[in-house]
């Protein structure tokens, strides 16, 4: 039986399937593994950051800093690999520690100073972007043999599709994200927080550690997305990934997560990402449409999903189950 909470997820998956069938009906070449592989590779960084955003939105918050953190991570890696002889893996660990700490600090401010997440992460967004500019205002190329090794790692599927490492990292992030959200106490606390912070506190949910954990997770995943993005572009540029936080929020909402928090699925976000990627691919295939049509379609989809959520909320609260299930033993 499909429960009402699963309905948005089902709608998202059906939307994706319908869109895919429509697109490949028009352009049969879209059915190839090559397109699917590119869909994963091109959206890897967005997908990773959207997993973090899912947790943030599930808890009833928002994280506007992630786009800037990705850019900062890219520039930081490029500059440190250019100016020092440090191994990229050590640089990865360093930058992840920094972004996790950055996220945790924002979470701590949100919790202890009782500030709206919107404002705190907006400040974080300017801060991270500013730091990226301080490191370098130019695009810094990354040339390191280890990068070449990582970029050359792929599995060639029949049909010519190359499933690259970055796409796999995204898939792994989604799977781990699903397990964390649904199978750990931390994940349950995130949902509880989104259902109502006051009630969650009364029920014994540790608000401080949960809030800090959520933003640390989002910051860390933004760092990981930054690493993936630097592998994707082989450069660090402080002007890159402007507005990615909004794309991530859009993917989460299209994936069926309630913006007010407390309800949604990490898996939904995955299909949200695929839908957004599919629209882009379609426009590339068409060739005559302006790429801005992507934004228009995503805008329309967002509206549709927000209406759907409202409708569902209305339907579930208006029709409470009567007591027929109740019987004395």
């Amino acid at each position: 039986m499909i429960r009402s909470t699963h309905l948005p997820l089902v709608v998202t998956i059906l939307t994706f399937l319908a869109a895919f069938v429509l697109c490949s009906g028009q352009y049969p070449a879209m059915m190839s593994t090559r397109v699917v592989a590119n869909l994963l590779t091109d959206n890897a960084f967005l997908g990773i950051v959207a997993v973090g955003m899912t947790f943030v939105i599930l808890s009833g918050g928002i994280d506007l800093s992630v786009g800037s953190v990705i850019a900062f991570t890219g520039v930081f890696l490029a500059v440190i690999l250019r100016d020092t002889s440090i191994h990229p893996l050590a640089a990865f660990a360093l930058v992840l520690a920094m972004t996790i700490a950055f996220g945790a600090a924002m979470g701590a401010i949100i919790h202890y100073l009782d500030m709206p997440a919107f404002i705190v992460t907006l400040a974080g967004m300017f801060l991270a972007r500013g730091l990226a500019y301080v490191l370098s205002t130019d695009s810094v190329p990354i040339t390191h043999e280890f990068y070449d090794v990582l970029q050359s790692l792929y599995w060639k599927a029949p049909g010519g599709g190359r499933f690259r490492l970055t796409g796999m990292v995204m898939l792994a992030t989604f799977i781990i994200g699903m397990v964390v959200a649904h199978r750990t106490r931390f994940g349950q606390n995130v949902y509880a927080l989104g259902g109502g912070a006051q009630t969650a506190r009364l029920m014994g949910v540790p608000l401080a550690s949960t809030t800090i954990g959520i933003y640390a997770l989002s910051g860390g995943l933004a760092g990981l997305a930054g690493i993936v993005f630097s592998l994707y572009t082989s450069a660090g540029y402080s002007l890159a990934t402007v507005g990615v936080e909004l794309d991530a929020i859009a993917a989460v909402v299209i994936g069926g997560t309630l913006l007010s928090g407390g309800s949604g699925f990490v898996a939904g976000t995955f299909f949200g990402i695929l839908i957004m990627g599919l629209i882009q691919t379609y426009i590339v295939f068409d060739g005559t449409l302006s790429s801005w049509w992507t934004k228009i379609v995503i805008g329309g989809l967002l509206f549709a999903f927000i209406l759907l959520q409202k409708g569902l909320t209305w339907a579930t609260t208006a029709r409470r189950k009567p007591l027929i299930d109740f019987a004395a033993p």
């Binding site: 014994g204 007591l323 004395a328």
Partner: protein, 504 residues
């Protein structure tokens, strides 16, 4: 319940002081295993303060609490929960977005290899809820179930966490009859398991149906503990109201039988107020009597359209009218002075003058402001007429005393020249002098031919100014007293028995 078992909880000499007030004065409460103990008292009697002291939400200022013979001093509700005292409130404190099972197990989910085992959680939840006769799918989100089911889930969680004392704070306030029945079944089961249950409610019938003993609080003191099997409702009501209840014959101005102004036919709202008929004539004060929660305020709000009725009709001077919002009511020249003056009545930071003209200006429409001279004239006239004592008309109304605020609110409605005025607890929290003035005002307005509906918990007061008294009980009109029948004694009898006793 047997008397010789040792009490599971005994609180002795509990006191709590607030600045300028004694909320609890050396209160004793003893709970035995397997008993349902009602905690009764009117608003402000100290019930919720006592509960908060027991659960650690407040620190008590004196006294001791012994649980199973051991002294405890909980500093938070979590701590008292660990000791074994669980509380369930009227508004269910669970998370509607989580599933039933997740709500039951939040914070203590069964783990398998460090991961939450959904399967075991569902199974356990099904077992626990089955114990309460609740056969629901525990993976469904809590919000899909009725309040009654949510209430049982909350009780189940509290019992699982605590398991010695269960405090139910008005659990039945928003339930209908069948749901109450179901909840009582659960309570009886828990009683058999040996839990001590504290039951707080305003519904006396329910108290006598489910409870073994009752402790009655008044003004922060215990005024009596009764074995309910050996006492009557009248006895308990007397304890709760505790006033000098001798029948007094009032010198009442002869009833000026005016024309019928308003007639309500079968008006009511599901889950809030049973449908009732009420006709109000000009020059008449209709009193609404009843215990707290009996439907006094609900009646006032329904008639004023603050909460729209879902059935019945209203007639004004033989014309059918719609009352779906306070704006409608104001247009028909109604006025309402609400019970909670501070939150529903005054606009604290606006000046006295602005507060007085608020309703008149609202009726006129915001785009046709009253001119300054008119405003001043009106405000000054009412300040004088009602003897509102203030330093200046420009001072924020929140600096006025309660009695003067109430008079300013009255002035607000009188300025609209109403035909029908509803007063909900017009004398609550004001000093004796102002009290008498407001009563005199009500009588003055009646003599001028205005129709008034006054809800009050002060029975003497109702007896003093009402030409008719409607008695409410469990959100239903149970009887109407006229003329000579109006006495505190008859009102108490009607509240307790649900009908008018033959007056000796």
């Amino acid at each position: 319940m047997s008397e010789d078992t040792r009490p599971v909880l005994s609180a002795t000499g509990i006191s709590k002081f607030f600045p300028g007030a004694i909320a609890l004065d050396s209160v004793d409460l003893t709970l035995y295993p397997g008993e349902v103990h009602a905690l009764l008292g009117e608003n402000g009697a100290g019930k919720s303060t006592l509960i908060k002291c027991l659960t650690g939400a407040y620190r008590r200022d004196a006294g001791s609490i012994q649980l199973d013979g051991e002294e405890i001093s909980p500093t938070s509700t979590q701590e008292s929960q660990v000791h074994g005292i669980g509380t369930v409130y009227q508004e269910v404190n669970l998370l509607p977005n989580l599933s039933v099972a997740e709500n039951l197990f939040l914070g203590r989910q069964p783990l398998r290899f460090g991961f939450v085992s959904q399967r075991r959680m569902q199974r356990e939840a099904r077992r626990i809820l089955g114990g309460y006769g609740l056969r629901i799918h525990p993976a469904e989100p809590l919000s899909t179930f009725s309040v009654a089911v949510q209430q049982v889930v909350a009780i189940a969680r509290a019992v699982e966490l605590s398991g010695k004392v269960l405090i139910l704070d008005e659990p039945t306030a928003s339930l209908d009859r069948d749901e109450v029945e179901m909840l009582f079944k659960v309570i009886r089961q828990l009683k058999e398991r040996g839990l001590a249950i504290v039951f707080i409610t305003h519904f006396l019938d329910q108290v006598f149906e489910i409870c073994d003993r009752a402790t009655v609080l008044r003004n922060g003191r215990v005024v009596g503990t009764r074995e309910l099997a050996h006492s009557s409702q009248t006895d308990v009501v007397h304890l709760m109201l505790g006033r000098q209840l001798e029948s007094r014959v009032q010198d009442r101005a002869p009833q000026t039988a005016g024309k019928t102004l308003l007639e309500f036919k079968g008006i009511g709202r599901k889950g809030m107020l049973e449908p009732f008929d009420l006709a109000i004539r000009e020059g008449e004060v209709v009193g609404l009597a009843g215990l707290l929660g009996s439907g006094r305020t609900e009646t006032a709000n329904l008639i004023f359209g603050a909460v729209p009725a879902d059935q019945g009709e209203a007639w004004l001077r033989d014309q059918k009218i719609a009352l779906t919002s306070p704006r409608d009511a104001i247009r028909h020249r109604f006025g309402l002075c609400p019970e909670d003056r501070k939150t529903d009545g005054i606009v604290g930071d606006l000046s006295v003058r602005e507060n007085i003209i608020l309703a008149l200006q609202a009726r006129q429409g915001w785009f046709r402001p009253l001119n300054k001279a008119k405003v001043n004239e009106l405000a000054e006239a009412y300040v004088k007429a009602l003897d509102i004592r203030l330093a200046s008309l420009d001072m924020p109304i929140r600096f006025l005393s309660g009695g003067n605020q109430q008079k300013a609110l009255l002035a607000r409605w009188l300025a609209t020249n109403p035909d029908f005025l509803i007063l909900d607890e017009p004398t609550r929290g004001i000093d004796v002098g102002a009290h008498a003035e407001i009563i005199a005002l009500i009588e003055g307005l009646r003599e001028k031919g205005m129709a008034l509906l006054v809800a009050s918990s002060e029975l003497e007061e109702l007896v003093a100014y009402s030409t008719r008294v409607v008695v409410l009980r469990d959100r239903r009109q149970v009887c109407e007293l006229h003329g000579e029948d109006i006495s505190t004694r008859n009102i108490v009898a009607a509240i307790a028995q649900g009908h008018l006793e033959e007056v000796a």
